[in-house]
């Protein structure tokens, strides 16, 4: 059974200093076992300016078993699958410890964005490119960040209109968009999950 009391504490703690770290964790629905984490792309990297969403599933044994995390935002990185978003990071596997938290795990992922480890690749194609042709790698990563990790440039009214056209009531659409900070994809997800 997931220790929900600890998860609650973690969420409060993490979102308290969101302005400093830029890292947040929010429940995907009412269920505290599915969460969405957000990390800003580190400055001075091809990921700068992007906001990366991480799907988090808490297994029954959490925090004694590691949380399952993968990128929901597409990203071009040697240790992250460009297909599935799977992350190759030791603390998410055998190096996990219950003294770590969701926030420390997300910070580690952020550090991984800054310092790829191409010798232990998750995505062999990306890793090859990183080692053999760093310039192409960097521009591909930057292009992916532009395309997938930046909040859509639509204005608020356009987002509202789009979601209302999908059949959701306007008042609910507006309040939902507010809760998720204007992210239309997250709003859609929240609307769909009721």
């Amino acid at each position: 059974m997931v220790d929900f009391s600890r998860v609650q504490k973690e969420l409060q703690e993490c979102n308290r200093d969101i302005n400093v770290s830029g890292i947040s964790v929010n429940p995907k629905s009412d269920n505290l076992t599915n969460l969405i984490g957000t990390i800003p792309g580190p400055t001075g990297t091809p990921y700068e300016g992007g906001t990366f969403k991480i799907d988090i599933d808490l297994p029954d044994g959490y925090p004694f078993e590691p949380p399952k995390m993968k990128f929901a935002t597409k990203v071009w990185h040697p240790n992250i699958s460009s297909q599935s978003g799977a992350i190759c990071l030791d603390i998410l596997k055998d190096q996990w410890s219950p003294a770590l938290t969701l926030k420390t795990a997300l910070l580690s992922i952020q550090a991984l964005l800054s310092a790829p480890e191409p010798d232990d690749p998750q995505d062999a194609v990306v890793a090859q490119q990183y080692l053999k042709d760093y310039q192409t790698f960097a521009s591909t990563a930057r292009y992916w960040t532009e395309s997938f990790a930046k909040t859509s440039s639509l204005g608020v009214e356009e987002k509202v209109q789009k979601l209302v056209e999908m059949g959701f009531p306007e008042a609910l659409v507006r309040s939902t968009l507010e809760v998720v900070g204007g992210d239309e994809n997250m709003a859609l997800e929240k609307l769909c999950s009721g």
Partner: protein
């Protein structure tokens, strides 16, 4: 199995003599016939065929029970903590780090104690520090983030405090995860303090403690090159092999009845070498896609085409009524046509005529597959049959012997001949299985060897089929006790017949094993097997057919042995060797 009791009731002495050939056979029945060569070679080892298969050697291995292993482990732990003046648990953790080598631990410790401590993560602290008994001071647990009083916490000697509930979950999760729990450290990622057996004993429930102890014992065994766990399913024994012993035979028979090769851990595979076995196993894996169909356990009856499932051990099939067709499971030919011969021979049926090149290649490929299939199918069928025989034997041992004992007013000790027959069947199926792998690898050009091999194998196989049939079908009629023939008299005849077949089959297989171990060079007439029965049967044969012997013609000798077995009725009192009594052979 019990050693054969030679002091048993005189009434049974004679009837048993067929089986118990070591002593009684010669003393009673053939003392006058024998040329005396082997009379006093009788060994007093337990009369189990598995030992018999190794009759040239003493046991070169020791079966160790968990208690034996734990005792040895504890001795090593004691050697370390008494010399190093540390706790038992610390000694245990250091040994774990140094692969259970007491001398390496001593050496490393006296060279640089601090270094050893750091490597292991050993903080020699008082148990009271690890589990504070008192203290109202409120602290925060580093895992659940709750505030608790100090007496509800524990540490592994470092400064990192967690509540006992979290500690328990931490230790249990790690034990569930596997042997990695043996090197568990403080939950704080930056801390190297070890969590040892002392913590586990306080924090884990009994079933987890047991699992932990098991991992500890396994690591002890895996570090010892002379000891291996028995790979038998669910078996808890370990086997220590004396590797100074004569090389060449690594077959081990565990107390759980599983037999395996200590060297390569495959199923026991005498007379084949580990290399041939490895080659064959690899071949089977690579061919698996092509041959999966072989393992399908049903085949259509060759006559009426209804599908028949093989669920008995022997290869003699009889279709359900009204068809009643009797056929051989392996070749689907009529069983009667076999006439006691086995269908072990691989015949290259089609001769390649003048075909176009592509056609020729296809033919070649087809033949290669057919050839492999021939051997594989027989290898697999014998393995399946061996497993079936093993479970049949267990059932007989556990239930049927009681029935028979009541039905025929005989103590169970006098029914040992039945188990002996089944043990022989199990062992023979195993040998026969491997001879098919052997046969596959006989080079094409070695025509003479191949035909000698097929001859010896064929004799052994048909002997085994007769024995298996008798032990399966005839025995069943005595167990169910339905037919009028199931009288006490007939049962005693059955005893003679089954024991005789057992003995004859054993001889065949000893010849087969010897032939293969000699690489199919002609079998030495005075084989290097003084304890084996075949030598004795041979000795006896000299009386009757001495002129035909001495040439060292293995095949001829084997043929003669067979005739001996059949015509003489081995016990000297069988009514005429009607071993193909198969009137009620139903498979359904």
């Amino acid at each position: 199995m019990q050693p054969m009791d030679s002091d048993h009731d005189p009434l049974f002495r004679y009837t048993f003599s067929v089986y118990s050939h070591d002593q009684v056979y010669y003393d009673d029945a053939y003392a006058g016939d024998d040329d005396g060569v082997d009379v006093d070679e009788a060994t007093d080892d337990s009369n189990v065929l598995i030992n018999r298969a190794n009759s040239t050697s003493e046991k070169s291995y020791l079966i160790l029970k968990e208690d034996d292993l734990l005792r040895r482990q504890e001795e090593d732990i004691t050697k370390v903590f008494s010399v190093l003046s540390i706790t038992r648990d610390s000694a245990c953790m250091i040994l774990l780090r140094y692969n259970w080598s007491v001398s390496n631990v001593h050496e490393a410790w006296f060279e640089d104690e601090a270094k050893v401590r750091a490597l292991v993560g050993l903080l020699e602290v008082d148990p009271a520090v690890k589990f504070p008994k008192s203290g109202d001071q409120i602290v925060d647990c580093g895992i659940c983030f709750e505030s608790i009083s100090k007496r509800d916490t524990a540490t592994c000697g470092c400064d990192h405090i967690f509540c006992k509930t979290c500690w328990k979950a931490y230790v249990c999760t790690s034990i569930d995860d596997g042997p990695g729990c043996l090197t568990l450290r403080c939950p704080e990622p930056s801390c190297a303090a070890a969590v040892g057996p002392d913590m586990v004993n306080v924090l884990a429930p009994d079933n987890k403690k047991k699992r932990y102890a098991r991992f500890l014992l396994s690591s002890y065994i895996e570090s010892n090159k002379k000891i291996k766990w028995c790979p038998g399913p669910g078996c808890d024994y370990a086997v220590e092999f004396d590797d100074d012993f004569e090389a060449g035979n690594y077959d081990v028979s565990c107390l759980c009845k599983y037999t395996f090769c200590w060297k390569c851990m495959e199923d026991a595979h005498r007379p084949l070498g580990c290399e041939t076995v490895a080659k064959w196993v690899l071949k089977n894996t690579t061919e698996a896609e092509n041959t999966n169909w072989i393992l399908a356990y049903t085949k259509p009856c060759p006559k009426c085409k209804r599908s028949i499932e093989k669920n008995h051990g022997c290869m003699h099939m009889t279709c359900r009524p009204p068809c009643g067709y009797e056929f051989c499971w392996l070749c689907l030919g009529p069983y009667l046509g076999h006439d006691g011969r086995a269908c072990n021979r691989y015949t290259n049926s089609q001769k390649g005529g003048e075909l176009p090149e592509a056609e020729q290649q296809r033919e070649l490929a087809k033949k290669a597959i057919q050839r492999y299939t021939h051997y594989y199918e027989r290898w697999a069928a014998n393995e399946k049959s061996r497993k079936q025989a093993l479970s049949d034997m267990n059932k007989i041992e556990n239930t049927d012997l009681k029935t028979l004992s009541t039905n025929y007013c005989q103590p169970e000790t006098q029914l040992q001949f039945i188990l002996d027959a089944w043990l022989q069947i199990v062992e023979c199926r195993r040998v026969l299985k491997w001879t098919y792998a052997y046969g596959y690898y006989i080079p094409k050009k070695e025509e003479a060897k191949k035909s000698f091999f097929e001859y010896v194998q064929g004799e052994a196989e048909s002997g085994l089929e007769r024995l298996h049939l008798c032990a399966e079908k005839e025995l069943q009629s005595y167990i169910t006790n339905e037919e009028s023939e199931a009288t006490e008299d007939n049962f005693n005849n059955f005893r003679v017949k089954l024991a005789g077949l057992t003995s004859v089959t054993r001889s065949y297989f000893e010849n087969l094993v010897r032939a293969l171990e000699n690489g199919l060079s002609e079998v030495d007439d005075h084989g290097s097997d003084p304890g084996g029965s075949s030598t004795k049967v041979r000795g006896r044969a000299r009386g009757g057919e001495s002129s035909s012997l001495g040439g060292g013609d293995g095949a001829k000798r084997v043929r003669m042995l067979m005739r001996l077995g059949m015509d003489d009725g081995v016990g000297g009192e069988s009514s005429g060797g009607d071993y193909l009594d198969d009137d009620d052979d139903y498979e359904d």
